[in-house]
């Protein structure tokens, strides 16, 4: 780790416009009336993976001169509220005020390398690492004071940034104890952490402080960053994925558009730098109209997409096999169904933006990337630069829900900044490019087959999944960043053939004696990567729709049927709770209530979702009236953070389920704006209700993705209850209901 003096780092943050507003939200928590120290218990289970990469306290936590704490997290704030969760665990272990804890999010050379912010893993990794770092810091501060005063730590108290002696009431600030040093002690087991029964922040609905800024308009997002002498740029993207530039005539550009500084052409990469932002918009348009490109490789006909996928797929891999499915299917009647999901967009509300400045030696970047360290690897390869000559700072962007275009905008800015050194170059993507070049969540096919035994229990279950890769995130392979594929010497994007994520949750969590899961990888026609919950969305849509069909065959209530196949108490509890929440609901003619359950990744958080819909039998119109969710993520860090994620997840999933699909013809992608790629609008938003089962003694799991998968199935099951029509092919639209 590069040591950067605190003073200069703080100046750096101030320069970015992050001026924190003094605002105490927790009046009731301020001040420790009772300096009795909360009990500690020894944590002796596994340490989070992130600690393996950054083992010492000072990698995670710095004590500032004024005694406040700076947490260094390798994660990025994406609107999920991770900053607040991290503040909570740190303030908890050090018995401090929340506003005395600042969180410095990912920056190369400063924060630990925690890979990507994704997979609902920031709580498990970053927040838990901070918990153990803060707990270790507390231990060390007490030990150092004990040594200094030549007394036992039993005679000392640590709270509100001081260590106080019970014997003579003398107190020392953290800064005084450390005398300018930081704590370089290794974090190792056992770690004495605060007993959960004494928590005052963790498990509570601590409000996020960043919303105060969002409603007022100081610089919050990457799009808001401004630097003296900053210039603007746009990139002319090719008309298709494999189009190559054959001619460009920029001779008339300067006469047509004011403020043009430079046009950069490198192979099929065309960028233009201007003084003002709208000049860049016009210059990009001019160059697009004055350039010629080769025709891109045609796409399959949209109506043949799923046939095409099966044709190009590799031979299947057997992912899970228990008992003997083939033998169990022999001579018995089986139930079969095929479920499909189209390509989906991340469709971030804020198109990508990236800033870069090359000072002649170091290339500085500002990006809303989910993984600045891996992005640095990709850029180092693309630019043939040493990684330590590339400095990237994460800045919040609009919610992106997986690997979207942030890294690509940063890459554009990097290329242009090297061509125009010593100025900050700001690249803003258009809505058209954001919708067209986004690495989509891939189309999936999930085929299921099952048989029941004589007691109407599932005896045998087979899942077959067809999926493209869900992980094309940047790494040292430069083809992962878009612009690299269009340079004079292009970096091709090698398909990773990675199936992980594609078959996630395709094997049911239910107790079934014979289970087989096959996964088929295909390298499809569209640019793809990770989209919130990966393959689980389609697989749980399939599995939980299928469970309702099997329950019907068994002549059982769908929830009762599920409970008959579950042994895990926590799974049973979320289902029973969602049933209780919906018990008092009445359904009119044309209305229905559906349910779905999931344990995310079959190993993490538990969730049960219910949906109530009304279907107009004449025109197929679907009204989504209300959705309920019950979640168990183990130990709750922030009650409202979880509620917010689950509410939002259900609404986003409802949008995917009822409205969304990437549209295309053989020549091009056609869903290039919000009219052609509609998402739910206010008139269509269901009421949402979330209940949380807090289990403070259990491992804390992330929640970011968990509401997505069961929401689709709950809606599909509700529609079936409402009108007797089952749609297998997402999105569920009125015409599909009428034609089923």
């Amino acid at each position: 780790m590069t040591a950067i003096p605190l003073q200069s780092r703080r100046k750096f943050i101030k320069n970015l416009g992050y001026i924190s507003v003094g605002f105490t939200l927790l009046g009731s928590c301020s001040g420790t009336e009772d300096p009795i120290m909360a009990a500690r218990v020894n944590y002796n289970r596994k340490l989070p993976g992130s600690i393996g990469r950054a083992k010492t306290v000072n990698a995670w936590l710095k004590i500032l001169e004024d005694g406040s704490i700076m947490i260094l997290s390798g994660k990025v704030e994406l609107g999920q509220g991770i900053r607040t969760a991290i503040q909570q665990v740190a303030a908890e272990e050090l018995d401090m005020e929340l506003d005395k804890v600042q969180v410095h999010l990912a920056e190369t050379g400063i924060t630990p390398n925690e890979g990507y912010t994704g997979a609902s893993a920031s709580i498990q990794n970053s927040a838990m690492s901070v918990r153990f770092a803060a707990a270790t810091a507390r231990q060390e501060l007490l030990a150092l004071t004990g040594k200094k005063l030549n007394t036992s730590v039993d005679n000392l108290m640590l709270y509100n940034g001081i260590v106080k002696s019970k014997l003579d009431d003398k107190s020392y600030t953290f800064a005084e104890i450390l005398e300018g040093e930081q704590i370089d002690r290794e974090i190792s087991l056992p770690v004495p952490i605060k007993d959960y029964r004494e928590h005052r922040y963790v498990g509570k609905a601590v409000p996020r402080t960043d919303i105060l800024n969002m409603v007022q308009g100081p610089a919050v997002y990457i799009q808001d960053l401004r630097f003296p002498g900053m210039v603007h740029a746009r990139v002319v993207r090719p008309p298709g994925y494999t189009s190559q530039l054959t001619a460009i005539d920029g001779n008339g550009l300067k006469a047509e558009v004011a403020g043009v500084i430079k046009t950069v052409i490198k192979g099929s990469f065309v960028g233009v730098i201007t003084e003002r932002e709208y000049q860049a918009v016009k210059a990009e348009q001019y160059l697009r109209n004055h350039s010629k490109w080769t025709t891109s490789t045609p796409f399959p006909k949209p109506e043949n997409l799923f046939t095409h996928i099966k044709e190009i797929a590799d031979n299947p891999e057997t992912i899970r096999k228990e008992g003997n499915v083939e033998a169990a299917f022999k001579g018995v009647e089986t139930v079969k169904a095929r479920y499909t999901k189209p390509y989906l967009k991340h469709a971030s509300l804020g198109p990508a933006c990236g800033l870069a400045m090359f000072d002649g030696e170091v290339l500085h970047l500002w990006s809303h990337s989910q993984g600045i360290y891996p992005l640095r690897e990709a850029l180092a390869t693309m630019l043939s630069m040493e990684t330590d000559k590339i400095h990237i700072k994460a800045v919040p962007g609009a919610g992106c829900f997986g690997h979207s275009t942030a890294d690509d905008a940063a890459t554009d800015a990097a290329i242009l900044a090297l061509e125009y050194p010593n100025a900050h170059v700001r690249v803003q993507w258009s809505r058209h490019d954001e919708h067209s070049w986004d690495p989509y969540g891939p189309a999936l096919i999930t085929e299921l087959e099952a048989s029941l035994d004589e007691n109407q229990r599932i005896n045998s279950w087979k899942s077959e999944v067809w999926s493209d890769s869900h992980s094309m995130r940047p790494n040292k392979d430069a083809g992962t960043v878009l612009a690299a594929r269009y340079l004079e010497v292009p970096f091709t994007m090698k398909s990773r053939g990675y199936l992980g994520g594609g078959h996630r949750n395709a094997d049911p969590y239910y107790t079934i004696p014979n289970i087989k899961l096959n996964a088929h990888y295909y390298d499809g026609p569209f640019r793809v990567s990770s989209l919130r919950s990966l393959g689980s969305f389609t697989n749980i849509f399939a599995v939980e729709s299928f469970m309702d069909a099997l329950a019907e065959k068994a002549g059982q209530d769908p929830l009762h049927f599920r409970l008959n196949h579950l042994e895990d108490e926590r799974a049973i509890a979320v289902i029973q709770k969602v049933k209780a929440l919906t018990n008092s609901q009445n359904t009119l003619d044309g209305e229905g209530i559906g349910y779905a359950f999931m344990r995310y990744k079959n190993s993490d958080a538990y969730i049960a979702v219910s949906a109530k819909v009304a279907v107009n039998k004449v025109n197929g119109h679907i009204e989504l009236i209300k959705m309920w969710a019950v979640v168990d993520v183990g130990e709750v860090i922030n009650m409202d953070g979880i509620t917010n994620q689950v509410e939002g997840g259900m609404i986003q999933a409802a949008s995917w389920t009822l409205k969304e699909q990437v549209t295309f013809n053989t020549k091009e992608i056609t869903s290039t704006d919000w009219i052609k790629y509609p998402i739910l609008r206010f008139s269509e938003i269901p009421e949402v209700e979330v209940a949380i089962i807090n289990r403070p003694k259990e491992t804390a799991y992330g929640v970011g993705e968990v509401a997505m998968p069961p929401s689709a199935a709950a809606i599909a099951n509700a529609i079936y209850k409402a009108c007797g029509k089952r749609v297998y092919d997402l999105p569920i639209t009125p015409d599909k209901i009428l034609n089923t």
């Binding site: 996020r208 919303i211 997002y221 799009q223 509300l349 198109p351 919000w674 206010f682």
Partner: protein, 154 residues
Amino acid sequence: MPTYQLNINGSLKKVETKADTPLLYVLRDYLELNGPKFGCGLAQCGACNILINGSASTSCMLPVSSVGDAEITTLEGLATEKNKLHTVQQAFVNEQAAQCGYCLNGMVMVAVSLLNTNANPDEAEIRNALQGNLCRCGSHSRIIRAIKTAAKNL
């Protein structure tokens, strides 16, 4: 290049730019305001909402030459006193009505516009007013709640 005198947040601002520059770019790039956001440039998402004479409008397709002497209010101009929030802003904070918050400018501006003409809107009226505003995170139910709270506190 023509010069325009604009009435922004109660003060006159002089801007020299081409006539077709959309107001959003004038506000963000020339006047360095962050409230109105670039979301689509197509008047489809509402992230760039401002108030024109108290009424919400998108700004991303509105040429600066058509603004004239209209009173333009941005998110930055809502609070009338320093260090105090407008009732609508305060309601969004109290209800924690955001995830990423990128759409929030538009939501707040439309809410203020709605409450300017209808002090006590019902849920259908709130949803109808926000129909042109997209939120990707799914904060809709909190946003509706915040506007109800704001109406009560006005």
